[in-house]
């Protein structure tokens, strides 16, 4: 991707809170039209990184920029929308009023009809923000993030508290926005979300980027495969095989985690001729993630 395409950037950024090192030599590059997910365990520094990109905090080392400008610049802020975890929205205003207010901040805002449809807030327009449930408030915050037809959207744990339908709506909207050329910077604990949406992923652990790349590349870093089948073999027997990492039995089904799937499958088929419903699956992002952060923790 061309360097000129980078719309949001952290370059060798460091941030300390007193003696605590929150971020250390962190590099983030978000390109136009890509969905970028920032993953990491609690306390890894995800919120700090987002705050730096948004100009809420200033880096102690390195540079944060949006569209090549400092993030606090008015011109930069007019091209972004954000949905934060600790978003304090006035409780006594209705969603329709909030949308009107936020739209007025932008020179070329999205139409009300578009915002309402994209965020799925048609039923909330006359309701006061303070009277909404957690999930409804998230949807309202999403609507406010969309108000300005932003070129970058910052979404901090956007689907927390949403039911399946609302989550699907938001995912659909995020995908269509990305197709239109909007960059999305996403933080999430919900790894299925990163798998479903992200073009690129960076993993933060203890203030450092420990892995970066596409979801496929992340998965490939972890060689684990999962084997499931219906088999009468005893778990202790299977667990004793050298390549097997773990075995779990659930009724008639056993699930084996291993790095050397082919060898284990050969052994299974040899030892149990009645074996059926054999499945071999690659690691999901969840496993890759646990593995990567564990390695980082051990190395630290």
């Amino acid at each position: 991707m061309a360097q000129a395409d980078v719309v949001a950037m952290l370059a060798a950024v460091g941030k300390n809170y007193g003696k605590l090192v929150a971020l250390d030599a962190v590099d983030v590059n978000v390109h136009r039209g890509e969905v970028f997910a920032l993953l990491g365990p609690n306390g890894a520094g995800k919120t700090t990184a987002i705050s730096l990109l948004l100009g809420l905090l200033k880096p102690d080392a390195g540079v944060a920029s949006l569209f090549g400008m400092p993030p606090e610049t008015f011109a930069a802020r007019r091209r972004i929308g954000s949905m934060l975890q600790t978003a304090g929205v006035p409780e006594t205003l209705t969603i329709g009023e909030l949308i009107e207010l936020f739209r007025s901040y932008y020179p070329a805002p999205r139409t009300v009809a578009d915002i309402v449809e994209l965020a799925g807030v048609a039923d909330l327009l006359n309701r006061r923000y303070g009277k909404l449930s957690g999930g409804q408030q998230r949807r309202a915050q999403f609507a406010l993030a969309l108000a300005g037809k932003a070129e970058i959207l910052f979404l901090d744990e956007p689907t927390t508290g949403l039911d399946i339908e609302a989550r699907e709506t938001m995912w659909r909207t995020i995908r269509s926005l990305a197709r239109e050329g909007c960059a999305i910077v996403l933080t999430t604990h919900y790894l299925e979300e990163a798998e479903a949406l992200a073009d690129r992923v960076s993993v933060l652990a203890r203030g450092r980027i420990v892995a970066s790349g596409s979801v496929q590349q992340m998965r490939a870093r972890v060689a684990q495969r999962r084997i499931r089948c219906l088999s009468g073999l005893a778990e202790t027997t299977v667990a004793a095989w050298p390549e097997v990492r773990s075995v779990e039995r659930d009724g008639e089904r056993i699930e084996i985690v291993t790095d050397a799937a082919e060898a284990v499958v050969r052994q299974l088929l040899f030892e149990d001729t009645n074996l059926s419903e054999l499945e071999v699956r690659r690691a999901g992002l969840a496993e890759a993630f646990v593995e990567i952060t564990k390695v980082a923790a051990d190395a630290a």
Partner: protein
């Protein structure tokens, strides 16, 4: 939509331009809409929170009724004198509480952070709050004036009523500034207590509840330390009860105090 689209020339990448020009270049086409909407919604929010609005509006008239009219009903002078000082007392509240408590709550809840990220026109938030405080000040003054005229028998020339009204409404600004200073530092739970702790003693020490001449001399000597004292001298001189001190220093002190508080608060807020 074409009317709303504007060429996005901004100040980035350019060599130093005068701050004013850069500022104006960043104003969006519908900037006025934003300011007006901000003010409209501040008004609506206050209206929808009667727990703040009603006591703030009722408290000064109640005080005046009790101390200015009922307790001192034999002294026509008292109703007169106290009308001026209670006007000052009354307009301190919307500034101190609206900003002191309001800003600290909004800061704690993350609303200020959201506005910092959003391209809200600079100053729209504060201007809207100040407009609200000024409106409250006006309402409080009018209620006090009505009570003074019809229950206290206070007689003033038209220009005196108007000038006092102007002093009252503009006089809310130093307390908006002081309230902002408190609100940008103190957490929401402590804010009401701290505001009261500053509000009530300062009002007393400025001679707003009873004339300083009735108190030991020491109080008159330290009175110039308190901003409400200066404001009340402006008000009292208008009705002929001033302590004879020249007016210009009072005005200068109040304006300087306001400017310093706003400047410091701005820096503190930028750091949150």
């Amino acid at each position: 939509m074409d009317a709303e689209r504007r060429n996005t020339k901004d100040g980035s990448g350019q060599p130093r331009r005068p701050k004013v020009t850069t500022f104006i270049a960043t104003l969006p086409r519908n900037n006025l809409t934003s300011y007006l909407l901000e003010a409209k919604y501040e008004f609506l929010r206050v209206l929808r929170t009667p727990a703040f609005a009603v006591p703030t509006l009722l408290f000064p008239p109640m005080f005046y009724l009790l101390f200015g009219l009922i307790l001192n009903r034999d002294s026509a002078n008292a109703a007169h004198y106290l009308f001026a000082t209670y006007s000052v007392f009354g307009v301190m509240a919307p500034g101190l509480f609206g900003f002191g408590v309001g800003v600290s709550i909004e800061r704690e809840r993350g609303w200020l952070a959201l506005k910092r990220i959003a391209p809200m026109p600079p100053g729209a938030y504060l201007l809207a709050k100040m407009a609200m405080a000024a409106l409250f000040a006006l309402i409080i003054y009018v209620v006090l004036a009505a009570m003074a005229r019809f229950f206290g028998g206070v007689q003033l020339a038209a220009w005196q009523w108007l000038l006092l009204g102007a002093i009252a409404v503009f006089g809310v600004l130093p307390f908006c500034a002081l309230g902002l200073l408190i609100g940008s530092r103190v957490n929401a739970a402590g804010a009401p207590a701290i505001v009261n702790f500053i509000y009530l003693p300062m009002a007393f020490l400025s001679g707003l509840w009873m004339p300083l001449s009735l108190l030991p001399k020491f109080f008159s000597q330290i009175a110039p330390l308190w901003p409400p004292y200066h404001l009340s001298q402006l008000a009292l001189t208008t009705i002929g009860h001033g302590d004879g001190s020249p007016l210009l220093p009072h005005v200068i002190l109040v304006v300087t105090f306001t400017a310093i508080c706003f400047a410091v608060a701005r820096r503190w807020l930028a750091r949150t």
